[in-house]
């Protein structure tokens, strides 16, 4: 027991030192070290006290983030290829062939949304807004807004005609934000390699801070139509500067049949 404690203490000290070392970068990042407003308000408003106390105890995950390395094809957390079944393999093969033929059928190529959770996989920054009742992702890519109400359990609907983002519902389990998503239209590619998604896919994300400027999302894809078993990918994000500006990407401009020109005489 004592030996375990010493090991634990040593590990913790090493982690603390590592965090201190990254303190300078941290100060420049968009991730608040301490939420002053939160501190001021905590305990002041009886009506919100329980909510605020709970929020105060939570990790701060809000801020600007970006995937920390480009992902061409998702793998499981231990580096293996996702367990596609026969139907999944066939569909992915068709998609890869479309890319090879120069006629990609990737929906993003015609300005359709990346969907959940591909918007996180795309190599573009996003702002994660954290409030006591809701988590909102504002993505640069496709101006995706994804709302995650902290109101689980997930209530599925049949409204799948338009849902690329699906419906998401979140809850905090200790220091981990758990988000369940469903109600997908099944049209999205999970990544650039065309991994498929059926309308019945359920996605479970476990998001937590892993360091001063890093965030981890363990994403479990559960879709019996295209995969032989649920599988989990590990996405890691790097905090972006506080003064990050999300660029307005107007993909639909490239669908126009002739270029836009200003109305006013220049």
């Amino acid at each position: 027991m004592t030996r375990h404690l010493i090991l634990a203490a040593t590990a913790a000290l090493a982690l603390a030192l590592a965090l201190t070392a990254s303190g300078a970068a941290f100060a420049q990042s968009s991730i608040p070290q301490e939420d002053a407003a939160l501190k001021r308000r905590a305990g002041r408003d009886a009506k919100d006290k329980a909510l605020l106390d709970a929020e105060r105890a939570r990790p701060r995950i809000g801020g600007y983030w970006k995937i920390d390395h480009k992902i061409a094809a998702l793998t499981t957390a231990d580096g293996k290829a996702p367990p596609l079944n026969a139907a999944g393999k066939t569909l992915q093969r068709q998609r890869l062939a479309s890319i090879k033929a120069g006629k990609t059928t990737d929906p993003m190529n015609v300005c359709l949304p990346p969907g959940t959770p591909r918007s996180l996989v795309v190599d573009e920054p996003f702002y994660l807004a954290q409030t006591p009742i809701k988590i909102t992702f504002f993505h640069q890519v496709y101006h995706v807004i994804r709302h995650v109400f902290l109101d689980g359990p997930l209530k599925l609907t049949d409204d799948r005609d338009v849902l690329w983002e699906g419906h998401s519902s979140g809850r905090w389990e200790g220091d981990t934000l758990v988000i369940e998503s469903g109600d997908f239209n099944g049209k999205q590619w999970l990544d650039d390699s065309g991994l498929p998604q059926s309308p019945d896919m359920r996605v479970t994300e476990k998001i937590r801070r892993t360091g001063a400027d890093t965030l981890e999302d363990m994403v479990t894809y559960d879709d019996a139509k295209y995969y032989s078993a649920p599988w989990t990918a590990r996405l890691t994000f790097k905090a972006q500067p506080k003064d990050t500006i999300l660029v307005e990407e107007d993909c639909a401009e490239k669908l126009l049949e002739y270029p836009l020109k200003p109305y006013a005489p220049e």
Binding site: A16, L19, L112, I133, T136, F138, L150, V162, E257
Partner: protein, 261 residues
Amino acid sequence: MTSRMLALPALAILAAAAAAPVVHAQARGAPAVTPVLTGDPLRRDITVPDSVPDISGTWSPVTFFRTIHPMSGEETPFLPWAKKFFLDRSAAEAAGSPLFDPNANCLPSGVPRVLPTPYPYDIVQTPDAIYVGIEVMHSFRIIHMDGKPMPADFKPSYLGYSAGHWEGDTLVIVTTGLNGFTQVDEEGRPKSSALKVTERWTKKAPDLIENLFTIDDPKTYAHPWTALSEYKWAPNVRFNEYECEENNRNKPDASGKLRHN
């Protein structure tokens, strides 16, 4: 020995290492809380600074109108080219063949056309920025509250660059960096890239925001003019996805005429 047991002393030491930016001595054992999904208008989100009004949450337009015109009742002070542009569009629409509109091609409504939005806003308010989710055309505005001016290399866009500050209880937003590709309103008042829009958001009641916005575009209008939009607190409204690109049915041909297919 479980990883949980290892983690507990680790967290204690982390918490003691005050100099370190502690990740979080978090809340195991904290009381379970029922999240408030549909708070009341007086609720403040945790990210809202105490010193300013809380405009966070979901807001819906009180009315939607397809024309934006001076609230003073005066005629829109068109410059000659703009007057012709407006009349030509009105005539084409009356004749049943409306002219090209980027908005009908899934491009953002832009500022100021989105201010009398037909669909809800969802606002997240932090000290550094106010994020305004816009359901129509799946976009969002970021109102920079940190005093940072528009970067020199900012590419003009539909929503532009918005810088905000509080004047007492009024949120003042100045938007520049707008492209000249789209109109002020659906009816067809034009704009140029010289446009500057100044909005004044005031919470007139716990559940009502008034937005007085001024159009200042010396290339298009003889003098600045001001219009009004109002937003009603709508805690029960949930955002929907708006994927215009999947319903892109009225693409124009090269002459700018719409195909109805």
